[in-house]
Symmetry: C2
Subunit: 152 residues, 2 copies
DNA sequence: TAATATAGTTAGGCAAGCCTAACTTTGCAA
DNA sequence: TTGCAAAGTTAGGCTTGCCTAACTATATTA
């Protein structure tokens, strides 16, 4: 078995990677620009340059000063993991918990870096359970909505 | 209305505050020792000293070099909030999601700093919902356990 | 009560991550 | 094609938060 160097990224680097991934978009045709990364993450362009250098060192992005920014296959895999965690969390917060979309988005942005696969996977199962399970023709998700709308 | 200076703590300071709170225990009779804080948080004693100074500046703990460490009322309020978030999250992860206790504990430790009241409150409601709602004499929590035990 | 072990502090250093200001490169328009 | 604006980089500085090593205070015990 080949040596598997587990890519351990900081929350900050995960954010950069995810932002690049989203900017490049499905298919990987588009290119990420430093300015846009800075805008999305609300940091300075100087900070982006620094992060890009680190990500390039880790072979997660292809980066040459003043050049295009693309992702390596390894980078895409990592980015997709983060993006997926984000997606699941955001969906859980909005669709199940009924949290305000803005708050849900923010919460997902933070939580995606700290909740591991075990939690995420089980959360996804919970979502399936609540959506699929019918009671009197209503999903449990709907039942829960009724529950917290009366309570809260 | 009096000016309400919102205490904004870093994740690290919240951890220290929570650790002190837990060491002091219910009733607030016990005293927190620097060594024990270091042990709980797995940091050096020097780091604890630094954190204590910061917390004292913010009037959250009573701290004099070589003296006892106790909490101010303000500190106790803040600490309790963090501890409560932790408790709810840990309970959700273990009791509802069925996550391994160690992983749940770790996840709660991290997530407690990033999930706001809106999410926590609704999570608590979800837990109530799942526990109270009976179907064929079984709680939904039990139903969900059966669901993921078959699936996973 | 004096020696020593334990607890706690100080000093100094390092990494991550952010910033602003100044500089360089690139690309578009006249 | 040249010149300027926009994009990107570099340099340097700041904060947080951690560390180790060395020092000081406290407490125990002989």
């Amino acid at each position: 078995m080949a040596i598997k160097t587990k890519t351990k990224l900081t929350a900050s680097l995960e954010d950069y990677l995810e932002a690049i991934f989203n900017l490049i978009g499905p298919g990987g045709f588009k290119v990420a620009r430093s300015k846009d990364i800075a805008e999305v993450l609300e940091v300075s362009q100087a900070s982006v340059t620094g992060a890009l250098r680190t990500l390039a060192e880790k072979k997660l992005v292809n980066y040459k000063p003043y050049g295009f920014i693309t992702m390596t296959p390894k980078g895409a895999v990592e980015a997709e993991k983060v993006a997926k965690r984000h997606e699941i969390l955001e969906s859980f917060f909005t669709d199940i918990l009924g949290i305000d979309p803005n708050i849900a988005q923010q919460a997902a942005c933070k939580a995606e870096h700290v909740l591991g696969q075990a939690v995420i996977v089980r959360l996804l199962e919970l979502m399936d359970f609540l959506r699929d399970y019918e009671k009197d023709g209503r999903s449990l998700t709907d039942e829960f909505r009724a529950f917290y709308e009366i309570k809260g």
